[in-house]
Symmetry: C2
Subunit: 324 residues, 2 copies
């Protein structure tokens, strides 16, 4: 785990208004992503499915929203000392990009086993890559060292109210454009996207069901949701590399209160759903984004006759190593 | 070559108004495809590039436009006898789909060496697949037999004014939404898309440069354009399978009159451009669609400081056999 951010840094528990503030802060800095649908999928499913394409977001994932909101929420003096995080994935690139846009330094502690493309992305956006060993302890030590040396502010990938509010803007854009949506599905890893989107769905008028979708091999969120106790998995095992994290504390509290259900899907269903989206919709999504699609393709969730919104969380895949 | 359609069947030489009629005919039957752009590509190129996503079109390619316009242009009695074509690619699926929408039969003569996915697509849309040998003579004989037996009307993939007008609706949507476009690029194979789009660009107010982009290994359009004589290539060789056809007669006449230039790109540039679009834009395009992108990425066309529209012609690729 990244060391907990102080509550002062993370801000107060967000509301719909906090998400609206985030949307104003993000305006012009991130992409307002399109919403796509597929006639053939709708026909097959007997439903209308609206896909919010965060795979087209800057850095290729919704992570740009939360990181940008956090970085642009800092006061001038704090921002001047820069920001830091550790990440083997999209969040590192998102923090680097947001810092570059604000004109402040970003340090991203990257474990030695991180994918080459992820490391390169951090550097491409102007972030300082700080190498560390593969273990979580080494990542945390690396980050602590950076913070001690630079005074940079830590931007946690999900357990941070500013990040949660930023991720919620994806649902805000989708539900304001399509108030006819009956049900909203997102993948769940650390819970930043799901908790932010649930805040919006519950805050807006009308009743939108909110369901988190998770790989069976990393089902800490479902276990936590069912048991009422936050479960941390030792060794999550899933192709959905964005969803291996365990639920954050703030995320869990919001999800318990606001989310209707959490469902799981199998690995083969994730790969199959990913391929269905590539073939039918001609868009590139990463395995994590395919998780809610897998849930509806395999009747894990009954969506017949409903209008369903799905946040396609990202599109960063290694085109050299496709899972089929 | 498919046997020439009669001028009566193909209609009169189209104008901007013919394309507007086609747009009204297509309304609700095909997708009004989105226009996407990439901040990182714009930055790299020092230009603004607007991509018209015909890879998101029904059947995965702009071909749905021309085929649908042709099929819905037929009078009731003629339509009742059905439609026929031969095709190893997207046009066959497009004709099958349009016929299904009109509730009439479609026969598609498919050579034995056609990709399995293309044959399956024809059948999935309800078309009758008629097998034939791989040679052009066998394709033509197969089609002639179908027409003799059924009285079906032939819908040529490009050398048909109704098809040309239909393809032009892609440019109409793009240029009406973005009148700031300075230059319009399309791939060129048989010339249906290029000639239809040129009609629109020349017909609308303002001056939009129109440039056709072609693989060097199938450069009949460039040779024809330069020499003023329609050149037919014996054995075009390119990964861009949608662009192996030689220019149609009607298409060549329109292109000579309306198009500013035709440029060529190399095979490696096509594969590279295809991958750049997949990686940066997270959308799936087929090699043919990458041809204009290759032209701007390799400075074959100077676009600095311009607003450029590109028709991404299609997204049908075999995900099992990627060219990198």
């Amino acid at each position: 785990m990244i060391q907990p951010v102080t509550d002062k840094m993370s801000g107060a528990r967000p509301t719909l208004e906090t998400v609206r503030d985030a949307a104003r802060r993000l305006h012009g800095r991130i992409n307002q992503t399109p919403v796509l649908s597929s006639r053939s999928l709708d026909q097959q499913l007997g439903a209308r499915v609206l896909f919010k394409c965060e795979n087209f977001q800057r850095v290729g994932a919704f992570k740009a929203r939360g990181a940008t909101n956090a970085v642009f929420s800092l006061d001038e003096a704090t921002a001047g000392r820069g920001v830091a995080t550790h990440s083997s994935g999209n969040h590192g690139a998102a923090v680097a990009l947001a810092a570059a846009e604000r004109g402040i330094p970003a340090w991203v502690v990257v474990p030695e086993n991180a994918a080459r493309v992820k490391r390169d992305a951090v550097a491409r956006y102007g972030g300082q890559v700080v190498d560390c060993g593969a273990g979580m302890t080494q990542r945390e030590e690396g980050l602590a060292r950076v913070v001690a040396e630079t005074g940079a502010s830590v931007v946690h990938p999900y357990d941070d109210y500013r990040v949660i509010a930023g991720q919620g803007t994806a649902a805000l854009e989708l539900l304001e454009a399509h108030p006819e949506i009956d049900m909203l599905l997102t993948p769940v890893g650390g819970g930043g996207l799901l908790s932010g989107c649930a805040l919006v769905a519950r805050g807006l008028p009308g009743t939108v069901q909110v369901i988190g979708c998770e790989p069976a091999g990393a089902d800490d969120a479902q276990r936590s949701f069912v048991s009422g106790q936050r479960v941390i998995l030792d060794s999550p095992d899933t192709i959905a590399d964005g969803l291996r994290a365990s639920l954050g504390e703030r995320n869990f509290a919001l999800i318990r209160e606001l989310v209707d259900d959490i469902v799981t899907v199998e690995e083969a269903q994730i790969v199959d759903a990913m391929r269905v989206v590539w073939e039918r919709m001609k868009i590139i999504i990463e395995p994590s984004a395919a998780v809610p699609v897998a849930a509806i393709l395999n009747d894990v969730i009954d969506i017949r006759d409903l209008t369903v919104g799905i946040i396609l969380s990202g599109g960063n895949v290694d085109l050299q190593r496709l899972p089929w």
